[in-house]
């Protein structure tokens, strides 16, 4: 804006310049002073006009005061300086030539009104800004609260929704907060959990370090620990957990709270226990099984000095018969009842009963005093079996054989102990059963051999370890060889040649006697054929083959014999089957039927070991027997001369009886010529024994026969 020098416009601007210079230092605006002057110029103009207006306009003056505040002259000092400036210069620069006194009066009134307007505007601005900043603080608070709330809500959701149990307690152990999962673990009643003290949560199964770790944590010496821990629920049941406890510190690092995270492992633990139980117990009887028994035995044998163990090994007598005759279901029920009774026999600490399998049970006692205890234990078991067991309305009498092993811990392995007990049990069984025997090392050693032979038998037949020796049967009348008895031998790889007494009972026991017997019969019959072909001139040679009791009852006996004879092409009269007298004692018709069939075909049947079995002599008539073989006990007394006259009478009587029944008589064990002569006089028909020949290979018989033929 151009202005004439010292014209009204120029004077107005000079006023504004002075005003801005006066006020500027009192402002806090970021405007420069010239910029401020530009903003004050319009206000100066309005003041100038108000000064000269006909009427005083207070509102205009107030508005000018308020405008100062708008120009950011908010320091009261700015007002003071403004009023000074107006007072001193407004009339001077803007008053024209008006009456000075009036102008000064007007200026004063303007100043008053300006001050009022300024104060009013400043008050309103201050209030507005205070309100704005308060609103901002409130808004900020809202935003922060919302953020915190969202964050807290999420934390809360995590806390409440966690599948894992979470609890917070102070360092004194007072439980402050728990989540739903934890409450559920403890049975669902929050008031029974919250407010309690961690220290009340002891359990007898707490590992020793559990509470030591706890103390270290609350003392701030440990940041966290992890244990497996059990708790009692309010209802008394047990809760098992995987527990992790962490120390929470405050902002300054001082211990403040403890945080527990727990996982419910009760189910898993029960499952493990059940699996463990199933793995270590017998499904039928519920007794501990072989696995658990071996664990306990191992522990007992590994116990320290002064500790002993006692073991009863029980096998039921004749259980197989019960199983076979009454069926497996009945057999199982019997085993369950036996198991219950045994269980009741071993209830003291350190005692246990287990089922090893089948009808085999063991009872174990441990401690320092088992020498006495084990006998009592065995007696209790025997007593427990005395009362008959009722199955399907039948009263079954169950007997058992017990092998006892007792000794100090730390000397033998479980397997050795059990084998000794097994052997001893068999000894009790061999002695008739229904008894117990104590282990003894010598018996063990014998039995160990027997045990080894038993297990080696089946493969021995396959490997061809058996062979047959023949002992000649000589006619007492003319001394001619009439045949031979086939005697089986086992050429054992370690033990050398073994006689039938060593392994036939074992073969009987295992059932191998049937295939073995068939093999012997076949070999012998072939040998007989060979002899008959070679020595047709020496008369009909006959082969004697022993039948064991087991073979006698075997249903294939007749058929097997017929097959062998037919296959070999030998007449039945070339074969004599020897059956022991004891095997036929009390024999019924069923047992005799196969023998009758064979006899009818022409096979001779000899009654072996006659005179040892207290036969009912009247019964002899009934038997399909054609030969009596006198037991060697009768001939032994005839080895000396003169013979015992009583024995002579007995033999004479038997021979007489036999002959009257049309039976031939053979004597065994002839060792001297005197014996042979005596027996010939007594009327015996044939004889065998060392006097003639020991059992030997078939070639030997061949030679004997030749000698006989030529001699």
């Amino acid at each position: 804006m151009s202005a004439e020098p010292d014209g009204p416009e120029d004077r107005l601007r000079r006023f504004a310049t002075i005003w801005s210079r006066a006020v500027f230092p009192a402002t806090s605006t970021s405007l420069t002073r010239p910029e401020l002057e530009e903003r004050l110029l319009p206000l100066a103009r309005r003041l100038s006009e108000a000064l000269r207006a006909r009427a005083f306009d207070a509102d205009e003056a107030r508005a000018i005061g308020a405008a100062l505040v708008d120009a950011h002259c908010t320091e009261p000092e700015a007002l003071s300086r403004t009023l000074d400036c107006v007072d001193a210069y407004l009339v001077l620069y803007c008053g024209d030539d008006g009456p000075q006194e009036d102008l000064r009066a007007r200026s004063s009134r303007l100043q008053h009104a300006m001050a009022a307007g300024y104060a009013q505007a400043l008050r309103e601005r201050t209030l507005a800004e205070q309100e704005a900043i308060s609103a901002a603080a409130l808004a900020a608070q809202g935003v922060v609260a919302q953020a915190l709330h969202a964050s807290e809500a999420r934390f809360r959701a995590v806390f409440e929704g966690a599948a894992i149990g979470i609890g917070i307690a102070d360092l004194e152990g007072n439980i402050l907060q728990v989540n739903g999962a934890l409450v559920r673990m403890f049975g669902g009643a929050e008031q029974l959990v919250r407010g309690r003290n961690v220290l009340e949560w002891t359990h007898p199964e707490d590992a020793p370090q559990v509470w030591k770790l706890y103390e270290e944590l609350v003392r701030g010496e440990r940041e966290h620990y992890h244990v497996e821990k059990a708790f009692y629920r309010p209802d008394g049941t047990v809760l098992w957990t995987n527990l992790t406890v962490s120390l929470l510190r405050d902002a300054d690092g001082n211990p403040e709270y403890q945080l527990a995270l727990m996982e419910d492992t009760t189910e898993r633990r029960l499952l493990n226990l059940r699996l463990r139980y199933e793995a270590t117990h017998d499904a039928l009887t519920g007794l501990p099984n072989r696995t658990l028994f071996f664990e306990r035995l191992e522990k007992a044998l590994g116990a320290g000095a002064g500790q002993r163990f006692g073991l009863c090994y029980l096998d039921l007598d004749g259980f197989k018969t019960i199983n076979d005759s009454l069926g497996h279901a009945a057999g199982d029920r019997l085993l369950v009842e036996v198991a219950d009774r045994l269980q009741a026999c071993a209830t003291a600490p350190g005692e246990m009963v287990a089922r090893l399998g089948g009808d085999e049970f063991v009872a174990l006692t441990t401690g320092p005093d088992t020498q006495r205890e084990v006998d009592e234990l065995a007696s209790r078991i025997m007593n427990a079996l005395v009362a008959p067991i009722s199955i399907d309305g039948r009263e079954l009498t169950v007997r058992g054989s017990i092998g006892i092993v007792e000794g100090p811990a730390g000397e033998r392995s479980p397997a050795e102990v059990l084998r000794s007990a097994d052997i001893t049990m068999y000894r009790a069984k061999s002695a008739g059963g229904n008894r117990f025997e104590l282990a003894d090392p010598e018996a063990d050693a014998r039995a160990i051999t027997r045990h080894g032979l038993t297990t080696a038998l089946p493969t021995a037949l396959d490997r061809g370890e058996f062979f047959i020796e023949y002992q000649p049967l000589v006619h007492l009348g003319d001394g001619s060889v009439r045949g031979a008895e086939a005697l089986v031998r086992w050429l054992h790889p370690q033990h050398g040649v073994l006689g039938p007494d060593r392994f036939i009972p074992l073969a009987e026991h295992t059932g191998l006697i049937v295939p073995l017997g068939r093999w012997v019969l076949e070999q012998s019959v072939r040998q007989a054929k060979d002899w008959r072909e070679r020595h047709a001139d020496a008369g009909p040679l006959r082969i004697n083959v022993n039948l064991s009791p087991c073979q006698l009852t075997h249903p294939g006996l007749v058929q097997d014999t017929v097959d062998i004879l037919e296959r070999t092409g030998v007449d039945p009269d070339a074969l004599c089957l020897e059956v022991t007298e004891s095997a036929l004692i009390g024999a019924d018709d069923d047992l005799l039927k196969p023998l009758r069939r064979l006899a009818e075909m022409g096979v001779d049947i000899a009654l072996d070991d006659f005179g040892t079995g207290y036969s009912n002599l009247a019964n002899l008539r009934r038997l399909p027997v054609s030969v009596l073989k006198l037991d060697r006990s009768f001939t032994q007394s005839m080895q000396q001369f003169p013979a015992d006259p009583v024995d002579l009478k007995i033999v004479e009587g038997i021979v007489s009886l036999a002959h009257s029944l049309n039976l031939a008589v053979t004597v065994e064990g002839v060792e001297t010529g005197a014996q042979a002569e005596q027996l010939r006089i007594l009327g015996c028909d044939t004889a065998q024994g060392w006097y003639y020949a020991r059992p030997g290979p078939p070639e030997r018989l061949h030679e004997l026969a030749l000698v006989d033929a030529t001699g």
Partner: protein
């Protein structure tokens, strides 16, 4: 879950805030008695604090006008505080109505107030973030929306860096921001210093103690230390000088002696 870095545990208006103290120095009433009390205590040691703040504001206005004259239309003002007369968006949008401005502050009250002031302004916004975490500033939706980092930006850090302690690596933060800027961007910076004050440090140091008491330590740096913030920038004439001497509109001799405290400068990225 992490609490947002900017969100304090609570808003405690019984604790003084540097942005409200700043407002008080500038004659505003966006403050509470605690703020004024702290301001008055600091002024016992540095009576010229309002003049220093006024000089800061005046420098900022000149620098924004300079940037606008250079053709820059994007402004990122970190540590913007309580909006008051002569805000960046007012100055910048007066020069170019299309200018875009993003304010950044970590004081939730300042942010809330800025939001209220900026309501309806499509080209200006505010971010609640902290200079100590530059990536949070750069990755904010407001920056994303308003600022194209492929074009030059005027980055304002006026009276803010003297509140960042060495432990929080202010140089690293400034460098990280610089690396995000396109060539031709400007760094507009002022910083407190004992240098240039009309009173010796032993008389004025008490003010530093006041800021320490309100848990917002004031770090006085030397000119040399302040110059290091411009690493990677070419200094715009007249370089790093006291505020009234940076491209003044009026003779610096007219300024209050306190206005010469501290340094101001503008740098340009190559």
């Amino acid at each position: 879950m992490e609490r947002p870095a900017w969100a304090p545990r609570s808003i405690d208006i019984s604790v003084p805030s540097v942005s409200r103290i700043y407002d008080y120095y500038l004659g505003g009433s966006h403050n509470f008695e605690v703020d004024r009390e702290a301001a008055r205590r600091a002024m016992e040691f540095m009576p010229g604090l309002p003049k220093i703040m006024q000089a800061n504001r005046a420098f900022m206005r000149r620098a924004v006008r300079f940037a606008a004259a250079e053709g820059i239309t994007q402004f990122l003002d970190i540590g913007s505080g309580i909006p008051t007369f002569g805000n960046v968006h007012e100055v910048a949008q007066a020069a170019d109505p299309e200018a875009r401005v993003v304010y950044v502050d970590h004081d939730p009250v300042a942010v809330a107030h800025s939001q209220a002031v900026l309501e309806g302004n499509e080209r200006a916004d505010v971010v609640a973030a902290d200079l100590r975490k530059p990536h949070e500033i750069l990755a904010s939706p407001q920056v994303e929306r308003l600022i194209d980092l492929n074009r030059p930006v005027a980055l304002l850090m006026v009276a803010i860096l003297h509140f960042v302690e060495e432990a929080d690596d202010p140089y690293g933060a400034v460098a990280e921001l610089r690396d995000a800027l396109a060539p031709g961007s400007l760094l507009v910076l002022t910083h407190a210093s004992y240098e240039g004050m009309p009173l010796p440090a032993e008389r004025t140091g008490g003010a530093v103690g006041v800021y320490k008491d309100i848990r917002n330590p004031l770090i006085m740096r030397s000119r040399e230390e302040i110059a290091r913030f411009f690493e990677g920038y070419d200094m715009v004439e007249p370089g790093l000088v006291s505020m009234p001497r940076w491209r003044p509109d009026t003779a610096p001799e007219e300024e209050d002696p306190w206005a010469f405290s501290g340094y101001a400068g503008v740098g340009r990225t190559a």
